[in-house]
Symmetry: C2
Subunit: 187 residues, 2 copies
DNA sequence: CGCCGAGTTGAACTGAATCAAGAAACGTGG
DNA sequence: CCACGTTTCTTGATTCAGTTCAACTCGGCG
């Protein structure tokens, strides 16, 4: 719980009232490795803050399992698009390790956004930072080679290389497992 | 001006006070074709609503001119990332046709967000829709072939094919001009 | 043990980039 | 209004990063 407020304090300061209101709707959830938090193809009514553990957002593209996003401690997990739009999305979410999560319901957040200006600001800033990350990832996909993207991942999140199976990392980077294996092979 | 409020009314309703406050800071600007609205590499302190005309967001990647985004009537133009973060960005913005724009300054928006909850909500919803679009585009880049992406563009914005030079369309689609020309060639 | 999924390795294939000329369109000044 | 130079577009030949398909290895684990 305090981790959550630590994390969001980087975006905006919450007054005691807003903070209490948020605290009241957050729900702590322990989920063992392999728990399906959101089923692919459904609406994602909950966004999870990862306090401990590891999750991935994934979907199926022509029977292939694609990892779309990986959320480590201190970040959010969910189908952003579905959570924001309220429409179903092919993306699902599952834990890759035993995890402790803070669950925030879409409806609660909507309500708090309406009633607390500070929460609305927080939501805006969170979405903004999501958009900026997305832009970054888009640019990488556009212009960096497979090896460059892998190199960047190694630099920025070296722990993931050990914690996430190769196949999932590969699809996260937008390449096949074979290609990632070869990239590793040289050096 | 009314076009602007029409467009944002799809997101949230503004009370008369918020509306007046926004109106007060909007500035209409006529820009002939080829006007540089934001220079690449600078901070983008202004977001433009395109009332009439056409703009593109672009940058240079190894001396190649890349079109990152195209904004038609009724949409926004600018370096989202820079506008939101306040940091410089390689992306610049220029008009592709004689255009009429509504200019909104970052500082004004920040101020109004702080003072008017409704404006903050509007900002959040706008960023959300930006993120959703971005996700869509990311997925396309990931999985659709060059020809599929072009086909989609033809379907969704057929006017752009006539209004935007091939080279710019190509880089917008993430391919070379040669490839786009060939795609057009067959059929 | 022997199976099974995850990872590696190899060979052939492919979509798109690159390099290299031409052809067409475009606008600017004489 | 035409001629010329510049930019834009097309077409062809070659190359390359990454995919696909297929076989093989390795490390558990029932």
């Amino acid at each position: 719980m305090p981790e959550f407020f630590d994390a969001i304090s980087r975006f905006t300061a919450l007054g005691p009232e807003s903070r209490a209101a948020l605290e009241a709707v957050l729900e702590t959830r322990d989920a063992p490795r392999g728990t399906m938090l959101v089923r692919p193809g459904s609406v994602c009514p909950t966004i999870y803050f990862v306090e401990k553990g590891l999750t991935r957002t994934f979907y199926y593209k022509d029977d292939r399992d694609i990892t779309d996003w990986i959320s480590t401690e201190g970040s959010f997990a969910g189908s952003m698009v579905s959570f924001l739009s309220g429409y179903p999305d092919r993306r699902g979410v599952e834990t890759l390790e035993d995890s402790t999560l803070q669950a925030l319901q879409r409806e609660d957040l909507q309500r708090l956004c309406a009633s607390h200006h500070e929460v609305e600001r927080l939501a805006r800033l969170l979405v903004e930072s999501g958009l900026i990350q997305m832009q970054q990832r888009f640019d990488d996909l556009h212009f960096a080679t497979a090896a460059e993207r892998y190199g960047k991942l190694v630099q920025e999140q070296p722990d993931l290389i050990r914690r996430v199976p190769l196949g999932m990392l590969a699809s996260y980077l937008g390449i096949t497992p074979e290609t990632l294996s070869r990239i590793r092979g040289r050096r």
